[in-house]
C-alpha cells in the first residue's frame, strides 16, 4: 500500500509498506551519540560478543525510532500519539532486518488509527513487537 494522505483511505487490515532500515555500524553509532548511549555492546562487535551477544546489537530505543519513521512515511503529516514497543530479542548491527505494520482499529470520529508493529531479524526471529496510535489531520 502506498502512502496514506487521508484518514478516509484507511481500512482495518491495511498493511504498512514493509521496510528494511539501515542498521549499519555507522548509523547505529550515530544514533548512540545522539542518544548519549555510547555503550560497547552497541558499537563494537567484539565487545558485544564478549558480553554474550552474537554481534553488536541495535539499541531498543533506536528500533522504536525506526518504527516511528516508518509510520511517518506511511502517513505523511500524521502525529504519533503513542508508541509502545516490547523488546523480545536482539537485532544485530550490520544485519538485514524487516519492519512491518498493520492497521488494527480505527476511530472514525477522532481520526485515530491503531497499528500493530513488528521488526523481524535476519534469521527470522521477531525482535520487536509493538503498537501505536496515530492521529490524522482534521
Amino acid at each position: 500500500m502506498s502512502a496514506i494522505t487521508k484518514f478516509e483511505d484507511l481500512e482495518i487490515g491495511d498493511d504498512l509498506p514493509g521496510e528494511s532500515p539501515d542498521v549499519s555500524m555507522p548509523r547505529v553509532t550515530a544514533f548512540c551519540h545522539a542518544a548519549k548511549h555510547v555503550f560497547e555492546r552497541f558499537i563494537d562487535h567484539e565487545a558485544a560478543q564478549r558480553e554474550g551477544f552474537a554481534a553488536a546489537i541495535v539499541p531498543g530505543i533506536m528500533s522504536q525510532g525506526l518504527l516511528a519513521s516508518m509510520i511517518h512515511r506511511w502517513a505523511p503529516g500524521c502525529e504519533i500519539l503513542e508508541i509502545d514497543t516490547v523488546f523480545r530479542g536482539s537485532l544485530l548491527v550490520d544485519s538485514d532486518i524487516t519492519m512491518t505494520g498493520a492497521v488494527t482499529d480505527t476511530d472514525d470520529d477522532a481520526l485515530i488509527a491503531e497499528l500493530d508493529l513488528a521488526i523481524v531479524a535476519e534469521d527470522g526471529r521477531t525482535g520487536v513487537i509493538g503498537t501505536a496510535r496515530v492521529q490524522f489531520e482534521q
Binding site: 539501515d22 544514533f31 531498543g60 525510532g65 525506526l66 519513521s69 511517518h72 512515511r73 508508541i83 523488546f87
Partner: protein, 151 residues
C-alpha cells in the same frame, strides 16, 4: 498470561511503592541532537530533521534516552533476581518538544506485577518519567518496563 496468585510480598511492595515520586531531573533539548536522532532513525519528514521547519520538533521517542538519576527509589526492596533486562518502552506524546526546551522529568514507579510463561515467573517493574516544559505543560510520558526473574 497474567497470574492472579500474586505473591503477598509483591503485593506489599506494590502497595508501598507504586505512585511514589523518587527523582527529579532536567534535560536540555538541542536541535543538533534532535536532528541526529531522527536522521539515525531513518526519518525523512522535515518536521523532525529540518530545524528551519515551522513545526520543527523532537522525534516521538526522543525522551526515551533521558535517564533519571536513580533506577529505583532509595530503600526500594530487592525483588527478583539480578539487575533486570529492558523489556521495552511506551511513549505517549502529549505535545511537541521544541528545540531549546528545558524539560523537567519526574520519575515514579508506575506499576509492579508478575507474569508466568514458558520462562517461569517474571516480575515487571514499570518506571514512569513524565516530562514537562518550562510552561509546565506535560509533553511526554515514558514507561520503561524492566523485567526480572522471580526468585
Amino acid at each position: 498470561m497474567d497470574d492472579d496468585n500474586t505473591m503477598p510480598e509483591l503485593a506489599a511492595v506494590r502497595d508501598q511503592w507504586v505512585g511514589v515520586e523518587f527523582d527529579w531531573t532536567t534535560f536540555e533539548m538541542s536541535a543538533e541532537n534532535m536532528v541526529a536522532w531522527a536522521k539515525a532513525c531513518g526519518e525523512t519528514d522535515p518536521r523532525f530533521i529540518d530545524p528551519s521547519h515551522h513545526d520543527f520538533q523532537a522525534h516521538p521517542g526522543f525522551t526515551t534516552h533521558c535517564m533519571s538519576g536513580r533506577v529505583f527509589p532509595k530503600e526500594f526492596p530487592q525483588i527478583g533476581g539480578g539487575f533486570g533486562i529492558d523489556g521495552g518502552k511506551r511513549v505517549e506524546v502529549h505535545a511537541p518538544i521544541r528545540s531549546g526546551d528545558t524539560l523537567t522529568a519526574t520519575t515514579t514507579i508506575a506499576d509492579i506485577f508478575e507474569k508466568t510463561g514458558r520462562s517461569g515467573t517474571m516480575i515487571f517493574i514499570v518506571q514512569r518519567m513524565e516530562f514537562r516544559n518550562e510552561a509546565k505543560d506535560l509533553v511526554s510520558t515514558v514507561d520503561w518496563k524492566m523485567i526480572k526473574k522471580a526468585e
